[in-house]
């Protein structure tokens, strides 16, 4: 009975884009290594089961923050959200590395009304009006997730890669647009600017449709929050880590759920 209930809850979680932890969020740029000042990239962004096939829900582009090599925030062109994916274009006139990020800061609530389980996700300022007064078992958690990818025109640069020191973030040790099959790449994960030690990190190459196994690689961050992968082959790797803590910025929320995802392109030797 309890099992059936859990399954039902899981079913709801899967059906709702709110509880996207069961699915993978990603952005895939048409290219990550660019030459020429008049080049553009076009980017797909979605939430899906398989990498990188949009089959579930489009990413929300109001969460998109694009940082140019000079540190300025730039606006994407031609944003569009369809049934299964969102797309946008990005001219990359500056030399250096652009950071593209879907930043989600919000509240997640689960509660019951007349015995019915409800879920809500939104901005902290809306939570009071969103949850009815007769709601019971209200559980609030803060969500801080970040989905990123990187594009470099010319030589890589550091200007766009400075952490915001809010939530779970990736600090490159190896430049994220300088990844080659067979070479080891190292990155650091930080939570609110401090090393995130002992965190499980997963990496999965894309094109999962064309093989029989996920071929998931896993590692754990060391005491400095650093982790490495030696990419076995070229491809668009989905790298993900998540954790939770109690350092909430909204006092009603007891728990904070943090997630970081990057799409990293590894080129052949």
């Amino acid at each position: 009975m309890k099992h059936a209930f859990v399954r039902a809850a899981l079913g709801i979680a899967l059906a709702l884009p709110l509880a996207a932890q069961a699915h993978k969020m990603w952005m895939v740029p048409s290219a990550t290594v660019i030459s020429g000042d008049d080049a553009w990239v076009t980017v797909d962004a979605a939430v899906s089961n398989d990498l990188y096939y949009p089959d579930h829900f489009p990413a929300q582009l109001d969460q998109l923050v694009v940082t140019a090599p000079d540190g300025s925030t730039v606006k994407p062109e031609n944003p569009s959200t369809g049934k299964y994916r969102s797309t946008f274009d990005l001219p990359v006139p500056q030399k250096g590395t652009y950071r593209l990020a879907l930043v989600n800061q919000g509240l997640f609530a689960s509660y019951e009304v007349d015995g019915q389980k409800k879920r809500w996700r939104g901005r902290p300022e809306d939570v009071r009006t969103a949850i009815p007064a007769n709601a019971k078992n209200v559980q609030l958690s803060e969500i801080a997730s970040r989905v990123e990818t990187f594009v470099t025109q010319g030589s890589p640069s550091e200007g766009a890669l400075k952490p915001t020191n809010r939530g779970l973030e990736l600090v490159p040790v190896t430049q994220p647009n300088d990844l080659v099959a067979g070479e080891k790449a190292t990155f650091q994960l930080i939570v609110d600017g401090k090393p995130a030690a002992n965190l499980k990190v997963v990496a999965i190459n894309g094109a999962t449709r064309y093989r029989n196994a996920q071929d998931e690689m896993t590692t754990t961050t060391d005491k400095d929050g650093k982790f490495s992968f030696a990419w076995p082959s070229a491809g668009m790797y989905w790298v993900n880590a998540s954790t939770e803590d109690t350092k909430t910025s909204v006092k009603e929320a007891k728990q904070r759920r943090l997630a970081y995802t990057a799409t990293l392109e590894v080129l052949p030797q």
């Binding site: 079913g11 059906a15 069961a22 089961n49 029989n212 196994a213 996920q214």
Partner: protein
């Protein structure tokens, strides 16, 4: 009298099944993964030319609202290509809900659906499993039908399937 007795006891053992039958055990392995969903599984019988002689079982998410569970049937891609795409789900007497890890026993009798009457010949029993955010695997067991004597056949899965055994009785 002495001559008849063994024959009679034989009859008693074999009854009530006079027709040939097959007993199949499909094992779904227990997997230690962060996110587990029960696999979709298809079981069918193929002729030598890979055409499908009988669909024996299709386990999928039958209860998902709006028939949404059919969305992943194509992930059992061999079955989908050979037979699945021609079917209207659910298939009476064949399809059912996904099953948990463990051994599942299925019994099929000659002349009765879903096996029906299989002409004598050489066939493959195929078991294919596909798991959401997991892997996909197919295993086949070649056999001759009908069996002249009781036969025990088996195949071992490596990732998404465990031990599969097929017992044929004449």
């Amino acid at each position: 009298m002495r001559r008849i007795l063994p024959f009679a006891s034989c009859l008693a053992l074999a009854t009530p099944v006079l027709a040939a039958d097959m007993n199949l055990t499909v094992e779904i392995p227990t997997l230690k993964v962060a996110e587990y969903h029960r696999p979709y599984v298809a079981v069918w019988i193929e002729r030598d030319d890979h055409s499908v002689a009988a669909n024996l079982a299709v386990w999928y998410d039958v209860k998902k609202a709006g028939g949404e569970g059919t969305k992943w049937l194509k992930d059992m891609r061999q079955w989908w290509r050979r037979s699945g795409r021609e079917q209207t789900m659910p298939i009476d007497g064949v399809s059912g809900a996904t099953r948990p890890a463990g051994q599942h026993q299925l019994r099929f009798s000659d002349g009765k659906p879903p096996l029906g009457t299989l002409p004598p010949g050489h066939y493959d029993l195929v078991v294919e499993a596909a798991r959401e955010v997991g892997g996909r695997e197919a295993q086949r067991i070649p056999f001759d039908w009908p069996a002249k004597a009781p036969v025990h056949l088996s195949a071992s899965g490596t990732e998404e399937l465990g031990q599969i055994s097929l017992d044929l009785n004449p």
